[in-house]
């Protein structure tokens, strides 16, 4: 790639980035729109939507539900997934390939199938749909992603460190909590963040299993026909800024650590 090719890829990529950012910019800009009923046409700048987010009560309630579901599903999926990841990397057991298959199949199943399957099961078992069924469904699809993320981290751990712990008469429980767990923590945190993001933004599986409960995405879906209130844009934009800030902090601390290590080495 030289000469023309070199510039071409810069131009093409910058255009692709702009393309990726257009709807994000649109959503953020329209959170400042002075709209009363619907938020389709630009009516002038205002901060009102940001200052009175919860006046549109349903939006805030839906947001609260999404946070609650996300937190509970993340805790469940991260715990179960981390345990599976440890077992997959560290231990020998029968039915290994069947187990691996069972873990990865949900990732290759379209959401609409997962959603309809769970809904059919809840229907047959007579389980009423609500927050509980949404949490169960979210835990399911987050689980596989947690296993994949944590497994990579377990595989890169140096077993010698745990051996050293055992040599120093650490009990298996001490070795786990003082050595293994702290070293796995970055992987576990990444998996938890990914689970939360997946759960928070899920619509399809939720829609099949929510009954009358409203999450943030299902609120947006229902409201789409008659126009989204600007408060929804406010919440989405706030979540976006928070997430980007988190990612940037993580990226820069990682970069700083790499530089420190490079200097030390």
């Amino acid at each position: 790639m030289r000469g023309f090719g070199k510039y071409a890829i810069w131009v093409y990529s910058v255009m692709a980035f702009i393309f990726l950012l257009i709807p994000i910019a649109y959503t953020i800009v329209f959170s400042f729109n002075n709209s009363r009923r619907t938020n389709i046409i630009w009516n002038g700048f205002t901060l009102d939507n940001w200052l009175s987010v919860c006046e549109a009560q349903t939006v805030c309630q839906a947001f609260g539900n999404s946070i609650l579901i996300g937190v509970v599903a993340t805790v469940l999926a991260t715990t179960l997934g981390t345990m599976i990841a440890l077992a997959l990397v560290r231990y020998r057991f029968r039915f290994r390939s069947a187990t691996t298959l069972l873990i990865f199949l949900p990732m290759t199943t379209p959401e609409v199938v997962l959603g309809a399957g769970l809904a059919a099961q809840f229907l047959q078992a007579g389980v009423p749909k609500g927050l509980g069924t949404i949490i169960l469904a979210h835990t399911l699809f987050c689980l596989s992603f947690v296993v994949v993320t944590v497994r990579a981290r377990v595989a890169s751990l140096d077993p010698a460190l745990e051996e050293a712990g055992r040599d120093l008469y650490g009990s298996p429980i001490q070795v786990f909590w003082r050595i293994t767990f702290p070293m796995l923590l970055p992987g576990i945190v990444a998996a938890a963040l990914l689970s939360f993001a997946l759960s928070f933004d899920d619509f399809i599986i939720t829609n099949f299993n929510r009954g009358a409960e409203v999450t943030f995405p299902s609120f947006v879906y229902t409201a789409a026909a008659r126009g989204i209130p600007a408060e929804a844009n406010v919440i989405a934009s706030a979540v976006f800024f928070l997430a980007i800030a988190l990612v940037l902090v993580a990226q820069f601390t990682a970069a700083a650590r790499r530089r420190r290590l490079a200097k030390a080495g």
């Binding site: 345990m83 599976i84 298959l101 069972l102 229907l123 994949v148 990914l194 934009s237 990226q251």
Partner: protein
């Protein structure tokens, strides 16, 4: 962060010695129990539901049976939507690859001398994950709407006739699918390109390979694993998606995909057997596709 899920196996420090221990059982059982209870049995429920037949006594209820006719009926009734889903998803995957591959190349190889820019570019690619999927799609709907800027320009130069709209067409649905899945395509390809040894490209150059030849014989084969998982991560959700194609978003009655049909049959018409049969047809189709891919690479590497 998110992209770690897609990166293929991280180089292990040592070949791990796997032990046999009862601890393995303790670690595996809760998760496996969960997967069996909420993944395997739901699939069995779907199979049972898909074979049900209407209750002769109570209208709107179904009784268990072996009504294989359901499958024939749904394939006859919704064949068009099923083929359309495959077609839309395939086109969206192709366009996402055409945008995602150069983008991944740019971040993984062109930006390698600038680590800070590289991190920032990566954040830009995952940025769409952090703003609601539905709101992003609605934003495109409003940008494309008749009052929006794009329609104005297109009608003034005569591409768009009077009374014609961009939304509700196959174009807008494929556009939306492409947009929404670009990060899923870009990240796995990036993960393979970022660890590509640049000396190999130099070697190609030294051996008088043109940039095109080097790309075709070195870069492309070395990023094949990323392209494969990116294609799957785009095609699978795109084929089952029903947001982009729904009437409230970028589609219309002419763009109905299989996901929309499943949703309507299950949640609106409450024709559970039809919805279940269609879900299983979709799943079977995708599993065949994944199996063909896996045959060419190997599961553990792929996901």
């Amino acid at each position: 962060m998110a992209f770690t899920a897609f990166s293929s196996s991280t180089a292990a420090a040592e070949p791990v010695v796997r032990r046999k221990s009862p601890i393995a059982l303790f670690l595996l059982l809760p998760g496996m129990f969960y997967l069996i209870l909420f993944f395997v049995t739901p699939l069995i429920s779907l199979i049972i539901t898909s074979l049900q037949t209407p209750d002769p006594l109570i209208f709107g209820q179904f009784v268990n049976a072996f009504n294989w006719q359901n499958y024939v009926t749904v394939i006859e009734t919704y064949g068009e939507q099923a083929i359309r889903s495959g077609g839309y998803a395939a086109l969206a995957t192709l366009f996402a690859l055409l945008i995602g591959f150069p983008l991944a190349y740019f971040i993984g190889i062109t930006l390698r001398p600038f680590p800070l820019l590289q991190s920032l570019a990566l954040v830009l690619v995952i940025a769409p994950f952090f703003i609601s999927f539905l709101l992003r799609t609605l934003a495109w709907k409003q940008i494309f709407s008749t009052e929006g800027p794009v329609s104005g320009i297109l009608s003034s130069i005569g591409i768009l006739g009077p009374g014609e709209a961009i939304t509700g067409t196959a174009f807008s649905v494929i556009f939306g699918l492409t947009y929404n899945f670009i990060p899923f395509m870009t990240l796995p390809i990036y993960a393979t390109l970022v660890s590509l040894d640049l000396r190999l490209l130099e070697a190609g150059n030294d051996l008088y390979g043109s940039p095109a030849t080097t790309f075709r014989t070195v870069t492309l084969p070395l990023s094949a694993a990323g392209v494969m998982s990116g294609t799957l991560l785009t095609f699978i959700p795109a084929a089952g998606d029903y947001i982009n194609a729904s009437r409230e978003f970028l589609g219309s009655a002419d763009t109905t995909m299989i996901g929309n049909v499943i949703e309507t049959n299950f949640l609106v018409l409450q024709n559970f057997p039809a919805a279940a049969a269609l879900s299983l047809v979709l799943m079977a189709f995708i599993l065949v596709l994944v199996a063909l891919y896996v045959k060419r690479s190997g599961t553990e590497e792929l996901l």
